[in-house]
């Protein structure tokens, strides 16, 4: 009799273990299906099978939590949860950070750990150009433009730029630290100002300390490869640009001396303008079309 009771109990126990394993396995299969949602190079959300949560008896953000794995005080990430057919989509307020690990918790139990794939070096941004492109500049050079291949992080530009004089001394305080920085709208081009107070003649700092760039000296502009783009990828390589400094350039550009090589009508030949002297890259881009229209569009039409 007692043997029979033990057998029945064991059968119940076996069934219970089997059922629990089945549930765990089913749950694991469901949470395996948690997917990252990509938008360009960023993970902007995750999708979780709706049935992995079971009955939704409370607000979603109480049953479902996503958090950064960290040493202490993990907290739920802020974001929006929405149900889309058989999925629950979690969209954090800002994209997940590449290279960091996160936990998904359902009803306060960790069901999944996610690694957001680190940045691939192939995705690294490039510094395409530094304007002026010439390596000889006047001592009153007022600004430079840095053109990147991808949108870059804002706010700490001057910490990635160093000016070395004669390959020896770091020239300090040469760049104006403006906040907000002067980026174009898609943050691929930065305007960097050399301190105008030291460049404009007659100003007190100019009289006391002279221009930031000194005639006859050689400088190297070093751009650190630690500069990150908006996705967190650092520059593919650091860049060094050598500059030889000549006399002050006080002559205004004279459009009357420019030579225009018009393309032939009905062709796709390029328009060439010989400007005779280097001009400000960005200002030229925005002003020459207007000047050309005003002075030469009639000729072209004829």
């Amino acid at each position: 009799m007692s043997l029979k009771i033990i057998r029945i109990r064991l059968r119940w126990l076996r069934n219970l273990i089997f059922f629990s394993l089945f549930l765990l396995s089913a749950c694991a299969k469901k949470t395996e299906a948690i997917q990252l949602i990509w938008n360009k190079e960023q993970v902007t959300g995750i999708s979780i099978p709706k049935d992995s949560i079971g009955n939704i008896f409370d607000s979603l953000d109480r049953q479902l939590t996503v958090r950064l794995i960290k040493d202490s005080d993990p907290v739920a990430m802020l974001g929006n949860y929405k149900i889309d057919h058989d999925e629950i989509i979690f969209e954090p307020l800002v994209p997940f950070t590449r290279g960091l690990r996160y936990q998904v918790l359902i009803n306060h139990h960790v069901v999944k750990e996610l690694l957001i794939p680190p940045i691939d070096r192939k995705e690294a941004p490039l510094l395409l150009a530094i304007y002026p492109t010439e390596d000889t500049v006047p001592e009153n050079l007022l600004k430079m433009y840095l053109q990147f291949s991808k949108p870059m992080r804002e706010g700490k530009s001057t910490s990635y730029l160093t000016l070395l004089k004669n390959n020896r001394d770091t020239v300090r305080g040469v760049f104006l630290d403006l906040q907000p920085e002067l980026w174009n709208e898609d943050r691929t081009m930065l305007t960097v100002w050399l301190d105008p107070g030291r460049i404009k003649r007659g100003l007190h700092p100019n009289q006391l300390y002279g221009a930031p760039l000194q005639k006859g000296a050689h400088y190297t502009l070093a751009v650190s490869n630690q500069w990150k783009d908006v996705g967190g990828a650092t520059l593919a390589m650091g860049i060094y640009k050598n500059l030889a400094v000549t006399s002050r350039d006080s002559l205004s550009p004279d459009p009357q001396t420019w030579t225009i090589h018009n393309p032939k009508a009905g062709t796709t030949q390029v328009l060439q303008i010989d400007l005779k002297s280097p001009l400000d890259y960005s200002l030229l881009k925005t002003t020459y079309c207007r000047w050309y229209r005003a002075n030469y569009s009639g000729r072209l039409a004829s």
Binding site: L142, P151, R153, E154, W183, L208, V230, T287
Partner: protein
Amino acid sequence: MKKTCLFFAFGLAVALLLAFTSRSHKSDDFVTGSPEIKSITSLAFGPDGILFLGDSRSATVFAMDTKDVGTVEKAAAIEIKNIDQKIASLLGTKPENIAIQDIAVNPLSKKVYCAVHYSDGTPVLFTIEGDKINPVPLKDITYSSVALNDAPAADAKNKWGQPLRISSISDLQYADGKVMISGLSNQEFSSTFRSISFPFTNKQDEASLEIYHAAHGQYETTSPIKTFTTAQINGKKYLIASYTCTPLVLFPLEDLKPGTHVKGRTVAEMGSGNQPLDMIIMTKEGKTYLVMANSNRPVFRVNFKNIETFEGSLTTPVAENFATEGVKFVSMPLTNVLQLDKLDENRMVMVQRKTDGALDLWSTDKAEWLLK
């Protein structure tokens, strides 16, 4: 019956009047929706819980109805250590991937509004009350907006006669029915100062401002205003502005009319090699102070009496670089204050980088002596 009808009609009229009165600062162009806010680089509160968001990336000012209009006389004390770590955790990232852009205290609820940028530039807005940090939705909000470059002010032209486009909003403030904005052009070292009536209209007034920059030893028209406020001095309303390299300049508000060229009175040169970051006005025990946070100097405290009694204008260069001139001011024992605002009548709130590297948000409850 007739009396009852009249009573109800009167009640309805009063209710309607109250309803419209409470919305008097909002115009018909307030809509509900999800505007494309590309950045939040400046914050300032207007009337009735209206929060102005300066979006440098799109050169737009948004007026957002926070609906946060419950009046609180005394704010809860704030002492949040490592505010950057706490905000980063809520955003699921590390502190190096976020940057606090600005803070502004709602003068009604005394909640601190804090604008943060994620490393990809995504703007996020929070409220901070005591030790609670809560997100403020930027979708499905009631708002109106004005694009600064869609209607360039008449005088905002560069030397080639082209419209001067604002690419960076340095500061914005609301006073006397107007939103005032200082901005900087990207390609040229040119500053603009605009005054836009609120509720927004298409008209943007611009006055060109000229100052004597004693650290530069020259009159200048293009120096960008970094931070400013408005205040009454000797019974007259003034714009109090501070520039890069830190001259302090007064402009009578009544003179800032469209198309006018206004020469400011430089009352103090507070030291070159520095940028002013934030400026507020505090009153303590009958004394009014201008309090200013700086990039390379401690927080300055200027007694208004010193400004009121300083009748001159600095028109000669300072004797040596980094030297100060004009109105006397006190350097407070507060360094590395990156953001500063008035919390309530007696207290300030600030974001400060401490000597151990921690970034803390705290109110001056335990430091009343700062304004004595």
